[in-house]
């Protein structure tokens, strides 16, 4: 058995933007998956909003994701058959919300990610950067307090990547969201308030100043 994470102890305060960097296989994505309840730890505890997640059922995790968490994936993971606006509306609809309220919220999110003109397009008709903007809008549509971003710039070019990172930061600040970012890219990590470096499942160091990472 491979241990993905060991002795990882950290606290992230509401409204913080925290990035995790490190080589492939260091456990940063596993950490994110554990926080999202997509994976379960063999030992240890994750406390969300002061509530222990130990022994939560699958359905309770679903409810937490539905209410509290938004996720942005490297591969966008948009539903192919739905249009951009339908993809954004999806988490709201999964909560049973529909109608005018939802439409307004979707409209607003489309505006904020600058994709109103592409609302009726399907994922296959959008560029990587555009798809990721829709994915961000989807992740934030239901107003989560925690945004988890797993390599959000991994599948797009550096120019679009910079745009995506500034969008995440801007939206998170305006929405008061806590952001956990996992990335390979030091450039992307510059958007965070502080950065944890990981290696072999351990948290190695915390850097407060983004510029310190960029200049060795």
């Amino acid at each position: 058995m491979v241990t993905a994470l060991r002795d990882v102890n950290l606290e992230i305060k509401p409204g913080e933007f925290c990035a995790f960097v490190g080589p492939s296989g260091c456990g940063k994505s596993t950490l994110l998956n554990l926080v999202a309840g997509l994976d379960l730890p063999t030992s240890g505890e994750i406390v969300l909003d002061g509530r222990s997640t130990y022994n939560l059922t699958s359905y309770e995790w679903t409810k937490i994701r539905r209410e509290t968490i938004g996720i942005v994936f490297q591969a966008f993971h948009l539903v192919h058959g739905l249009t951009a606006e339908e993809n954004i509306a999806l988490p709201l609809m999964l909560r049973g919300e529909n109608g005018q309220e939802t439409a307004k919220r979707v409209e607003d999110m489309l505006d904020r990610v600058g994709m109103s003109h592409r609302r009726r397009h399907r994922p296959a008709e959008l560029s990587g950067g555009e798809q990721q903007r829709i994915a961000i809008a989807r992740a934030l549509a239901h107003g989560p307090r925690l945004l988890l971003a797993d390599e959000p710039t991994g599948n797009i070019d550096s120019h679009q990547g910079a745009g995506i990172m500034s969008l995440i930061r801007e939206l998170a600040i305006s929405g008061g969201q806590t952001v956990l970012l996992v990335t390979h890219s030091l450039q992307a990590a510059q958007a965070a308030d502080y950065v944890w470096t990981m290696r072999d499942g351990h948290l190695v160091s915390r850097t407060e100043r983004m510029t310190e990472l960029v200049t060795p």
Binding site: H77, G81, L82, L90, L94, R95, N98, T102
Partner: protein, 871 residues
């Protein structure tokens, strides 16, 4: 093994290992299709083979037979036969049936052959020990002496000099086992399951003194058999038939040809649906491995070898399905043989029941080979399309990032046009008549109909949901789930079209056959209600066992007419005689009764005019009423004349009316009893229909009849006195038994169609693991994922069911108006059994949801994290 084959085998096994569940489902589907086809074919073959074997075994060295039909022939004829040049020997034969009694319960029916045991000692293929003394010899030929086949003796636990309780003809008697028939060789023989009596004893016991059923002739080897036959025909009375023993088998084969053919065609439906399943599996395999195919092509595999790879994979499924299906088919066939023998005996001629003959003399291995071949061929035909598609893969596009399948456009519009054209062709093909009495074009029309609807399936799948918006839909989350499911299903019109087609075919056949059977049943019910009006029917005790009991067991003494008429509550008694004779080379039922009496008390459903009037007219002018089936077959109608060879010579009869009759598809002639007696010299009665005075108690009269006739039976069995209601019930029971097999076969086809749905949904779920994981990650619950898959199943189900209903309706028209009419000649009044249709649809919906449930459950249980990692 050539390197190419080794490489193919390697790839093939890796694919099978990769998708074990799909492989299993596909193999099960093929196996089910093969099993139905193998079972029906084997049972069909076995029933007639056992009949043929019995005929040929009893015939022994006989080269020609002289027969007088069911009424038998005068034994004096034998003297004339012996005078013909080329006749080496001529032996009298009685061929009847006895029923063994177990207490008061009738058990197995067994064929009894009456032979001249002294003259034919050990010449017929069985051995008897030589009687040591004159008294032993006398024992052999005593009326109650019966020789029993070895297997029968073992089963009934009998040995020489034991007693056995038998119903012989109209009588019940305790017979003595005079000997056990031993086989001449080590090989199995039909004698093992028969009984033998001396001819004189048989004549007495079966009430046939002075008569025999036939004369078996051995001809001189130097004289051509046909020449001897010709000479015999010249000398003998014209109503006697002279034929080779094998002709009897051919006659029975001819009689049941349409019945067997329809059954066989129905058994192929499972294979047809199985073909859709294979197509589906292979189409998925090709889509799944498109990149892999690109790699094969890039490293030097030729187009044809790519196609062969997929064909071989399908062949492997067919091979494995063929093995499993053959084994299941053989087991199923063992059950079918009894059912089929019973049905053929009920409707056509006594064929006896075979006993596991499928395992004889390499039969099993032949069946296995056939099953494997059928499995392979069907699978490979189903895989031709996907294999060609695989071979035409554009290497560069397959290796490039992006979805290859999304760029593949199925020409749904063109397919739809083709579908409509095929429907039009189906309509045209249903217009002409049969070819050689077989509704070849009717079957072709059925295929065109199903193929046409299958071609329409993709446009139905893709058509309506295109570009539908889910925003603001009523129904909240359910509406969204429905929308996503429909959208996803409509994105793969090719594959989903095939699934829908499989369901459509299964359901269309189910509904088509259901409507046909229900309409037929309704027609028979109306016919029975309108024509069976006698309050009671007095019949031989074993009458309900049909032709199985032999002609002697199906006759009553004419003197009972007076006894029955003397009962005060009895208003009228008819004497009904039903014998099989040959008319223009066809075996038909000649029914005679008191037509005037029948006109007064009952009726026939005549095609034109009034029944009573026609019946009286027929009696007055010595005319005939002919069943619709026979009229069509002989090309006669009201006003024509028909020549029949009677024991009194050829007679020409005017045809007074044509009537609807559903008791036999061999055809029926009806004449006045007096006319029949004067020509056939037969005064026996098959049954007495009894009409009671108004207000009489049926049960009381029945008791009186039983009481009075038991006394008159003189040691014979008490007759069967059956009420009108019971008789109608019995007729409908025979009807239902006849169609039992039909239901089994269509159920198999529906099960295969369901496997198709499971297969498609499993495929869909496997392909969409990432999508489901995403939905879970953004807040979707496991329950919602389950609903999504179920909605998809429901969407495909609804389209399949809608097409199935249309197909079923059209198919029922084809079955009733074309195939059945051309096969059997019956006019069936079409009804729409709403209740049964609703049941069929509900069953299909439930089956679809059940088929969707397991993939849905599986999808909901998949770890989210694995799905998100999926490429």
């Amino acid at each position: 093994m050539p390197a190419f084959l080794r490489a193919l085998l390697l790839l093939l096994t890796s694919h099978v290992r990769q998708w074990p569940l799909r492989t299993l489902l596909t193999i099960v589907g093929v196996a089910l299709g093969v099993s139905a086809s193998v079972a029906v074919r084997s049972a069909n073959v076995d029933v007639l083979r056992s009949f043929e074997q019995a005929v040929m075994t009893v015939a022994g060295p006989t080269t020609l037979e002289v027969s007088g039909g069911e009424t038998g022939l005068d034994e004096q004829v034998i003297t004339r036969v012996r005078t013909i040049a080329g006749v080496t020997s001529a032996s009298p034969v009685i061929l009847q049936t006895v029923v063994r009694m177990r207490g008061e319960q009738a058990d197995q029916a067994v064929q009894v052959v009456g032979l001249d045991l002294l003259a034919e000692f050990n010449t017929r293929g069985f051995l008897l020990s030589q009687p040591a003394t004159e008294s032993r010899l006398m024992n052999m030929i005593q009326p109650e002496a019966v020789f029993v086949g070895a297997k029968l003796a073992a089963e009934w636990n009998l040995s020489v000099d034991d007693q056995v309780d038998l119903v012989i003809g109209p009588k019940r008697c305790i017979c003595r086992v005079a000997g056990i028939l031993q086989n001449e060789s080590d090989r199995t023989s039909s004698w093992e399951r028969m009984a033998v009596m001396d001819i004189a004893a048989a004549q007495i016991t079966f009430g046939m003194v002075g008569k025999v059923d036939r004369i078996d002739i051995v001809t001189d080897e130097k004289t051509a058999v046909e020449d001897v036959a010709q000479d015999l025909r010249t000398v003998l009375p014209p109503h006697l038939t002279v034929e080779r023993p094998a002709n009897r088998t051919r006659q029975v084969e001819q009689m049941v040809r349409a019945f067997r053919l329809n059954l066989t065609v129905l058994s192929w439906v499972g294979l047809l649906v199985g073909m859709f399943l294979i197509y589906n599996t292979m189409a998925f395999a090709v889509a799944q491995r498109r990149r892999e195919i690109g790699i094969y092509r890039a490293v030097g595999m030729t187009q044809s070898r790519v196609a062969i790879l997929f064909l071989m994979e399908a062949g492997l499924f067919g091979f494995l399905g063929g093995i499993a299906g053959s084994v299941a088919g053989v087991i199923l066939a063992q059950e079918l043989v009894a059912l089929l023998s019973r049905t053929i005996s009920d409707l056509y001629a006594p064929v006896g029941v075979s006993e596991g003959g499928l395992f004889w003399a390499g039969q099993f291995w032949r069946i296995m080979l056939e099953g494997i071949l059928i499995g392979c061929v069907v699978s490979m035909i189903g895989a031709v399309g996907p294999s060609l598609d695989a071979s035409r893969t554009a290497t560069v596009r397959a290796l490039a990032p992006g979805d290859y399948e999304a760029s593949q456009q199925l020409r749904v519009g063109m397919l739809a046009v083709m579908g409509l054209s095929l429907l039009a062709v189906a309509g045209l093909l249903s217009l002409p008549g049969p070819i050689g009495e077989v509704p070849v074009l009717g079957y072709a029309a059925t295929l065109c109909l199903l193929a046409g609807l299958a071609c329409l399936a993709p446009i139905c799948v893709t058509g309506w949901p295109r570009r539908r918006q889910y925003m603001g839909l009523e129904g909240g989350v359910q509406g969204v789930m429905r929308g996503i499911a429909v959208e996803h299903a409509s994105r793969s019109p090719g594959r989903n079209g095939v699934t829908v087609s499989a369901l459509m075919v299964g359901l269309a056949i189910m509904i088509g056959v259901l409507v046909m059977v229900r309409s037929f049943r309704h027609t028979v019910e109306v016919w029975v209600t309108d024509t069976v009006l006698a309050d009671l029917v007095v019949a031989p005790s074993m009458w309900l066992r049909g032709t199985e009991i032999g002609s002697a067991g199906r006759s009553l003494p004419p003197a009972w007419l007076n006894i029955l008429s003397s009962i005060p509550e009895v208003a009228a008694v008819d004497s009904y005689r039903d014998v099989r004779v040959e008319v223009n080379g066809q075996r038909v039922a000649v029914v005679s009764r008191d037509l005037r009496l029948h006109a007064q008390w009952s009726r026939y459903l005549v095609r034109n005019g009034d029944s009573s009037e026609q019946l009286r007219r027929a009696a007055d002018i010595r005319g005939l009423l002919v069943s619709e089936v026979l009229a069509d077959r002989l090309g006669v109608e009201e006003g024509s004349t028909l020549e029949i060879m009677t024991p009194s010579g050829p007679e020409r009869f005017p045809i007074v009316a044509v009537f609807y009759d559903y008791s036999t598809d061999g055809g029926k002639l009806l004449m006045d009893r007096a006319l029949y007696q004067s020509l056939w010299h037969d005064d026996l009665v098959t049954v007495f229909p009894v009409y009671l005075s108004p207000g009489s108690s049926i049960d009381r009269v029945r008791e009186r009849i039983t009481e009075q006739l038991s006394g008159a039976a003189g040691g014979g069995l008490p007759p069967l006195v059956i009420s009108n209601t019971e008789l109608r019930k019995e007729i409908l029971e025979i009807f239902d038994r006849t169609f039992l097999l039909t239901y089994v076969l269509e159920a198999i086809a529906v099960v295969i169609a369901m496997l198709g749905i499971v297969n498609t949904l499993v495929t869909s779920v496997l392909e969409r693991r990432r999508e489901f994981a995403t939905l879970r990650a953004i807040g979707g619950s496991a329950e919602q994922i389950r609903q999504l898959v179920l909605w998809e199943a429901a969407y495909l189900g609804v389209i399949g069911i809608a097409l199935g209903l249309i197909g079923g309706g059209l198919l029922s028209l084809l079955l009733i108006k074309v195939i059945n009419k051309q096969s059997f000649g019956w006019t069936i009044q079409m009804i729409v059994p709403i209740g049964a249709l609703i049941q069929a649809v509900v069953l299909a919906v439930i089956a679809t949801l059940v088929a969707g449930y397991f993939p849905a459950r599986w999808a909901a249980r998949q770890p989210v994290i694995d799905g998100l990692r999926e490429e």
